[in-house]
């Protein structure tokens, strides 16, 4: 598994498509499996992922999506049962694959026996909604209104930027390294990006790929 991941997303709806877009921005290879032909065409037009039209729970469709060589699979359709089935099938076909399933209850724990990670998008959405309703002037990281991403990135061993001072590194325009390692201080030109440490970085989606390359190798 290199720094560039090969990811399968089952479900090209809102959650699946947005996830695919973000992963594509960060330079990963994405394959979307979508049952609805019209929806599949729409995803194709956005040109962020290879699209397979078909039912992701069908093993031959999963094979066509390249499950054998994929690093991760995410079941992101609106049906929790289908998502779990897809993940478990994939695990059976490719034991090393990382699985993520979208569920529809808050009871995360009961699912983690079967998949590596679960997510409940409605909870994240509700958090955002609550923040918006209160209308606070101060917003947390997750609630950015634009397309800007604020991420915490761990510098990989051997990445181009590892061990270099910020002043030495040419990050693409549209990048801002915000914090010193461990988030105690604001980054300065002489801040060193140490391998294994985490830094808060703000990036525009267009250059996320390049920033990932510099920090993750």
């Amino acid at each position: 598994m290199g720094s560039k991941l090969d990811v399968i997303i089952a479900g090209g709806g809102r959650v699946g498509f947005e996830t695919a877009t973000i992963l594509d921005d960060r330079g990963h290879d994405v394959t979307v499996v979508e049952r609805d032909q019209a929806r599949a065409d729409a995803v194709s037009d956005e040109y962020v992922a290879t699209v397979i039209s078909g039912d992701a729970s069908n093993p031959s469709i999963l094979e066509q999506a390249g499950v054998e060589d994929a690093d991760a699979i995410a079941g992101l359709t609106g049906l929790a049962g289908l998502n779990l089935a897809v993940c478990m099938e994939a695990k059976d076909m490719a034991p090393d694959i990382r699985t993520v399933a979208r569920i529809d209850t808050r009871a995360k724990e009961s699912y983690t026996r079967f998949v590596d990670q679960v997510l409940f998008p409605e909870l994240a959405g509700a958090r955002t909604a609550a923040n918006e309703i209160i209308g606070s002037d101060v917003e947390t990281l997750a609630d950015l209104t634009g397309t800007l991403d604020i991420m915490q990135i761990r510098v990989a061993e051997g990445a181009p930027a590892a061990g270099r001072q910020l002043s030495e590194i040419r990050f693409p325009a549209g990048t801002l390294v915000v914090s010193d390692d461990d988030g105690d201080r604001i980054a300065r030109p002489d801040t060193t990006l140490d391998a294994g440490k985490r830094y808060v970085v703000a990036v525009e989606p267009d250059v996320a790929d390049e920033v990932m390359n510099l920090m993750r190798g």
């Binding site: 194709s44 699209v51 066509q64 693409p172």
Partner: protein, 466 residues
């Protein structure tokens, strides 16, 4: 535009003379037929590029379809094809540059410029070699330290080139020499009509531009329509421009004259019929010669970018050392990939132009075969994949594409056996080196992996390759 820039670029200036040498006036047919052959591959490229949203060109598509070794070899071949193309353009640049200086009377005619002695190393080097070397070095350094200069100017460059060629055709077609032009005998005495086959092989490189187009597809909007359009429009435009230019060149200078002028064929043809005594530029031919110099340089620039992109993709896929797939922390460019490409390019400017053309064409032919094959394989293995653009009459086009490319490959190999065993040996050596590197890298990769165990985590996946 970038694809067309490279296609119209240097092939026309550099290779016309060489094609005329092999095929005589039938050089016209050579370019036309090559256009036809590549059209089938163009369909394959269009389908792949529209359905696989990855930049990286043929290599990325083949990587999607084939197992490790075949896709690795594909990247390896394509990388080489671009690097050798770079050498070819550099070699084409040199005599044209000398011709430009000659037009202004700075140096004697190209053939009279012997060797420039280097005071430092106390050795004499051919001037053309030195110029080619410097051209590569200059453009590589430019691309290695900055991304700004590369790519964005391509459109302007292409327009300039096409306008220059239009001027050339316009003047040439109305020149008195052209009206009395002699296209007979169409085919050379020895070999007859079959003689055009090796010439087709040699000039095939001129159509490499597809791959270039598809290496930059990520920036394209509405790919379903625009990628196929870009591929076919640039193909059609290239063929039309080529035919017009070659016809005029053969018509004015004659196949014999073209062949003698070699890499500077077009430039000399232009000097012969363009008006002289104009103010400032003195000589109408200078425009064309300038065009040739300009085109070879911009094409060189394009393949420097293209070759480093292939190496960069391979590095990111873990098929070359990971450092190939990394952006330099200070320059913001795929520095290692560019430098590695440069080393091979610089090494290969010692080759004769024709060998460089042959080798590059050979590798493009081979990789086009694989690309056509991957369309078929993909259709069979992934019937349910969404294909925003589907080629008509499948499976005829890729099959025809494979057969035609294969025929040209065989003819070219046979031709090389007879005339240029060095190029053939070098090509075989490169593939052999590729296989050795592949297994070497694999061994390198598996050893640290075994020690590491299975440390899988969300963000903390260790690089397997270091």
């Amino acid at each position: 535009m970038i694809g067309m820039g490279a296609m119209i670029g240097a092939g026309i200036f550099v290779l016309t003379g060489l094609a005329a040498e092999i095929a005589g006036p039938a050089a016209i047919l050579v370019f036309a037929l090559n256009g036809v052959v590549t059209a089938f591959t163009g369909l394959s490229y269009a389908e792949l590029a529209a359905s696989i949203p990855k930049s990286g060109g043929g290599y990325a598509f083949v990587r999607e379809v084939f197992a490790d070794l075949p896709s690795y070899l594909m990247g390896w071949m394509l990388w080489f094809a671009y690097m050798i193309a770079g050498a070819l353009y550099a070699l084409g640049f040199a005599p044209n540059f000398l011709e430009l200086l000659h037009v202004y009377g700075i140096v004697p005619p190209p053939e009279a410029v012997g060797a420039i002695s280097l005071p430092v190393v106390d050795a004499a080097l051919p001037a053309t070699f030195l110029l080619a070397f410097l051209a590569v070095l200059g453009l590589v350094s430019l691309n290695a330290v900055s991304t700004a200069a590369s790519g964005s100017l391509e459109t302007v460059f292409t327009i300039v080139k096409v306008s220059i060629l239009v001027v050339f055709v316009a003047f040439g077609a109305t020149a008195p020499m052209f009206s009395t032009a002699e296209f007979q005998p169409l085919f050379p005495a020895e070999g007859g009509a079959l003689a055009i086959l090796p010439a087709m092989g040699l000039t095939f490189i001129a159509f490499e531009g597809y791959d270039l187009i598809t290496t930059v597809t990520e920036e394209v909007e509405n790919p379903r329509e625009n990628i196929p359009k870009a591929i076919f429009v640039s193909l059609a435009a290239t063929v039309v421009v080529y035919l017009a230019v070659v016809t005029v060149a053969v018509g004015t200078l004659g196949a014999q004259g073209l062949a003698e002028a070699g890499e500077a064929g077009i430039a000399q043809a232009a000097t012969s019929f363009m008006p002289t005594g104009l103010p400032i530029i003195q000589n109408g031919g200078a425009i064309i010669v300038f065009g040739a110099v300009f085109s070879t340089l911009t094409a060189l620039n394009a393949v420097v970018i293209a070759s480093s992109r292939v190496a960069f993709s391979m590095g990111r896929e873990g098929q070359l050392l990971p450092s190939f797939g990394q952006i330099h922390h200070r320059y913001g460019t795929p520095f290692v990939a560019i430098v590695a490409s440069a080393v091979v390019m610089l090494g290969s400017v010692v080759l004769p132009t024709q060998s460089a053309g042959n080798m590059s064409s050979l590798f493009f032919l081979l990789s086009f075969i694989v690309v056509n094959g991957s369309v078929i394989k993909l259709r069979r293995e992934r019937p349910d994949m969404n294909r925003p653009y589907e080629m008509p009459f499948y499976p005829a086009p890729p099959v025809i594409g494979i057969v035609l490319n294969l025929v040209l490959t065989l003819v070219l190999v046979e031709f090389l056996v007879r005339t240029d065993p060095l190029a053939l040996a070098l090509s075989a050596a490169w593939i052999g080196l590729g296989v050795v590197t592949y297994f070497g890298l694999n061994r390198l990769r598996t050893e640290p992996d075994a020690a590491e165990g299975t440390a899988a985590g969300d963000e903390q996946v260790p690089l397997e390759d270091d």
